[in-house]
């Protein structure tokens, strides 16, 4: 049996009606309590704003460590003899091949 356009239209109407008729099915209303019970057991949802607040808190908590690191680096730099750039450039031009890293850094 071959379907013609009109028959396809009828078929479409049948399928669409069956599809929409499904909305009439009754559903009990106990499931809402289940949702709220499950949600109350969770931690509150986190928004993007609360993420930034927590990030800020973390930054402040790390501040002493960062200050300490700055102090250590400053002390090291003070004790190290910094070779001027032109000196390094001159060494490279003169082909001083045995220039070690420790010499280069100035230790």
């Amino acid at each position: 049996m071959k379907f013609f356009k009109e028959e396809h239209e009828v078929l479409k109407k049948i399928l669409c009606r069956a599809y929409y008729e499904k909305e009439r099915v009754k559903v009990s209303d106990h499931w809402q309590h289940g949702v709220m019970r499950r949600i109350r057991n969770l931690e509150p949802v986190e928004s993007d704003a609360s993420f930034f607040i927590r990030f800020q808190q973390l930054v402040w908590r790390l501040t002493p460590v960062v200050c300490l690191l700055i102090l250590i680096l400053a002390t090291v730099l003070f004790r190290v003899e910094i070779v001027p750039k032109y000196g390094v450039f001159q060494l490279l031009l003169n082909g001083e091949e045995e220039l070690s890293i420790s010499q280069f850094v100035g230790l």
């Binding site: 049996m1 028959e7 669409c16 008729e21 499931w31 499950r38 969770l42 928004s47």
Partner: protein
């Protein structure tokens, strides 16, 4: 308090929930439960509706901070519900738990009667019979989870490709191609069934 919560906009309730007032979510749930249930009833088997409805609102609660346009919460929760249906069918197809009912001679006779009586009046006046639901389930059971969702939204529900794509989170081309292909496939399947 109850009256007050009814006056609140969706955006206001969402703000309250995000600020930690979990109970405010119940207002959103009551406001949209029927809308979500109507979506689920059309897309998934009756026995799975309550469980999936719980899943939809649970996902909605967790996704609240990502709602960009709080004024369009209805569209947003519709998309959450549609994607939950799609996930349901993907799980079903993966675990091959779908009962594949077959059509019988009874269905063929019924379909022949309906098609031969093409008057709109008799069609609308008649009560939809069990065979119509079985025919729909049989036809949809022949489609993949993706095709099923696209076909239901575009062909049966009458949404545009853009609307269906927004709900599913797919491209418009994908939805259009799938729904067109499915329409042809289902017509062919039913023609073959009638000819057999």
């Amino acid at each position: 308090m109850v009256n007050e919560s009814h006056k609140l906009s969706d955006a206001e309730i969402i703000r309250r929930v995000i600020e930690g007032d979990v109970n405010a979510f119940e207002d959103l749930l009551k406001r949209y439960e029927q809308h979500v249930l109507n979506i689920l009833k059309k897309h998934i088997p009756h026995i799975q509706i309550e469980e999936t409805a719980q899943e939809v609102f649970f996902r909605a609660y967790q996704g609240l901070p990502t709602v960009k346009q709080t004024g369009r919460f209805k569209q947003w929760i519709s998309a959450v519900a549609i994607r939950a249906c799609y996930d349901f069918w993907r799980r079903q197809y993966r675990s091959r738990e779908i009962p594949m009912s077959d059509l019988t001679e009874r269905h063929r006779r019924w379909l022949e009667d309906v098609i031969s009586d093409q008057s709109d009046r008799s069609f609308h006046e008649s009560r939809l019979q069990k065979e119509a639901f079985e025919l729909l389930d049989w036809a949809l059971g022949k489609l993949s989870a993706e095709d099923r969702m696209a076909f239901e939204l575009v062909y049966l529900e009458g949404l545009s490709g853009r609307e269906a794509a927004d709900l599913l989170g797919w491209s418009v081309v994908n939805v259009k191609v799938r729904s067109h292909r499915c329409r042809k496939k289902i017509k062919k399947l039913i023609s073959e069934f009638m000819a057999a």
